[in-house]
Symmetry: C2
Subunit: 267 residues, 2 copies
Amino acid sequence: MNRPIGIFDSGVGGLTVVKEVMRQLPQESIVYFGDTARVPYGSKSKDTVTKFSSQIIKFLLEQNVKSIIIACNTVNSNCISELRAMFPKINIVGVVDAGVKMASTVTVNGRIGVIGTQATIDSNRYENLLRINNSNFEVYSKACPLFVPLVEDGWINHLVTRLITSHYLHDLIQEDIDTLILGCTHYPMLKEVIQEIVGDIMLINPAIEVARSIGEILENMDLKSHTNATYSFYVSDQANRMKQTAEMFLGCPIGKVTTVEIEKCYC
Amino acid sequence: MNRPIGIFDSGVGGLTVVKEVMRQLPQESIVYFGDTARVPYGSKSKDTVTKFSSQIIKFLLEQNVKSIIIACNTVNSNCISELRAMFPKINIVGVVDAGVKMASTVTVNGRIGVIGTQATIDSNRYENLLRINNSNFEVYSKACPLFVPLVEDGWINHLVTRLITSHYLHDLIQEDIDTLILGCTHYPMLKEVIQEIVGDIMLINPAIEVARSIGEILENMDLKSHTNATYSFYVSDQANRMKQTAEMFLGCPIGKVTTVEIEKCYC
């Protein structure tokens, strides 16, 4: 079953999910879509985010994908149920759900930290989902607005990044959390620095769990690929910029990035 | 002539222009509009930016403004001529034109630096306008993508900001520039740190020149106000966030911020 997995995000952050699927499932082909013309989704209404996401899913289905990963925290938080109802024939898994599941499993003292963009933290989505899993969990959240621009501007391992990380995480560490969810797809790019600052707190990278989860689904449904993987990258704007960033995120050349007029063609 | 001046931007950055108009023209009332629902403009097409801007100008005209300042680099760079043609009865001045004029006047050695967002620097707008003024000017540009998030997250005077500034400006300083244009409305918030790093290079804050220029226009057209000023703030989304940021930018309380459905009401 050599059809690709579809992965999408509002921008480039979902590439950390691509990286993890490449690592765990090296025979699976991937079609990635980043909605770079309409990023960020965090400040947009639920209706708008649902409409944009359904356009992207239509595009991915046209690429004959066998399963879809929502690599965007905002889409997963706002409308994964609506999208599943709109596209009942395809499996859709989300990065937030995966992170929550993993954190709930690994925490010992039930004190969990969540870091993300301002929009993700303000939505309380992680907090609510963790409490649904276990009402005794104590959840501590912190927005880290500089992490995305730091990653996108290439300050991955720099004194500046360590100082900012230390400032952002100070209060969470004081709360005696034993588990910290990296609640934004960019943040795994900073995991070495974050781990250095938080010591032996367990970092949860939802990309790892979502890749594991899609692997299981494909196995169970007998949809696994057994050939050489191919990778295709699509954006709605600024293909050259995506190519550069993708090669930084993935650590390898990715070939051509294609621009799709998603708004006109899939409304 | 106690009608207000209209000032608009894609987001909060234009508040540095508000601050300068308040300082230079303390009797002038201001209506500010920040298009926080549709920010950033930098990645959008010229047609889209023109449409959004004309919606905002219609709103400002309804508030009975006597003159308009475009406090957004992208709008000024893309479509100030089109907007002037669409609204011939109102004076429209722009922050980029003002910055270029001031830098052209103050440079002695003709070596001018420009810093701005990636979109502004990629557009070459400042460079082209400076060269139209004087084809012998040497212009050196540098995108500083972390400055806007640093300002918005409140890292105004911090070791981190000094380290990042020093990194960004290193090459420009080597080029022996004598003048540096702060080509993004957020950057005047960092002017102390920037000045510390660049030494005796002259910093150009286009907000100062645009406020001076609007003062002259009002004087010449006999449109100056002679009463106590009032200030009104409007946004297309996230009024609370704007209130917070505006009070940080302006250093004083600003009262209520009102949300306007700009897309629905002024199309």
